[in-house]
Symmetry: C2
Subunit: 198 residues, 2 copies
């Protein structure tokens, strides 16, 4: 970085830690922020610093400021008897955005990865058995990403769950708005495999 | 935005005010920040909030924490007798990155735009005459962007400067690494017009 004032360098370094932000984007952000009023800068600092108050829901791992999140407190979701297992909170948010699911969630916090030292104890997996029993879960939807680790984690979950629970995995195939021409061979394979009578 | 905890909503709104950051990117940033330690969040808030201490150089308008910036204090640049006029600090930084210029700068703070109420008094234009005299500037390089307003501002500057000062504008043509095939007609026109014997 060229010879910039220390406060600019510090801000560029801080913003550069955000995902998808390189030094060039960070400098562009700083340029915009130099036009903000002092009160706006203060507001920005308070709002981002406020994330320190964020907790994980004691039941499912969703973001919350209370001991239990709004989704877990929703009685209609509790009565559904369905649990959707995801890797990250951002996956939960993506499913919520679809508006197509009204059951409970469990955020694993990742997938099994022995090479990186991620075993069942590093994930919200040991608590899952209790969750399923306590909340009378009848159906589990595995919404883990399709990868070697995701597949292995699904197999593990299926293995450790009591036999009475139906375990399903989300469907794989061609995305809506996609174009066959540009689709990868693996997805085309899955789409052919998962065809339905029409 | 869906029903997220208030601290998340506040952080998404704050980050969404940065240039090039929409709600989706802001949420992705927040997701990353939830994995930061409280001390890292605090550091981020301090570094970005620190931009409130940034000033404009009293001579040229560059970012500085002192009354006068490092570029203006550099005696070799002062002796060069050359002044490069730019619209924004980010333009100055781009020229500095090229490493091809070692004179003084003047950051106008924009270009003349009567429709938006931007006249000479809204820009660092009135101070330019004094700057040129006081610093014994012999050559002015106009590095304003090619636009109707940029062209008009260049014409205005040329008009108000004393006759003894050489006024030049940066060259327009084909960018290095560009491809004629994809170049816009205006740039091709400029490149033809600005051809040099080879």
């Amino acid at each position: 970085m060229m010879d910039l004032p220390p406060v600019v360098k510090n801000a560029v370094t801080a913003l550069g830690r955000l995902p998808g932000v390189g030094e060039k984007s960070a400098l562009r952000m700083v340029t915009a922020m130099t036009h903000w009023r002092a009160s706006e800068l203060q507001q920005f600092a308070i709002a981002t610093g406020g994330l320190a108050d964020l907790r994980e829901c004691g039941h499912c791992g969703m973001w919350t400021e209370e001991p239990v999140c709004a989704i877990c407190l929703d009685p209609r979701r509790a009565e559904s008897g369905i649990l959707c297992v995801v890797e990250q909170v951002s996956d939960l948010l993506a499913i919520e955005r679809s508006g197509q699911y009204k059951g409970r969630f469990l955020v694993l916090g990742g997938v099994l990865n022995p090479l990186l030292g991620v075993g069942p104890d590093q994930l919200r997996l040991t608590a899952m058995g209790d969750f399923v029993q306590r909340e009378h879960i009848q159906t589990i939807i595995l919404a883990l990403n399709p990868s070697v680790e995701g597949d292995a984690t699904c197999a593990y979950i299926k293995h450790v769950l009591p036999a009475g629970v139906a375990v399903e995995r989300i469907g794989f195939g061609m995305p809506i708005g996609g174009s066959l021409e540009y689709l990868d061979p693996m997805t085309i394979g899955k789409a052919l495999e998962n065809r339905k009578s029409f």
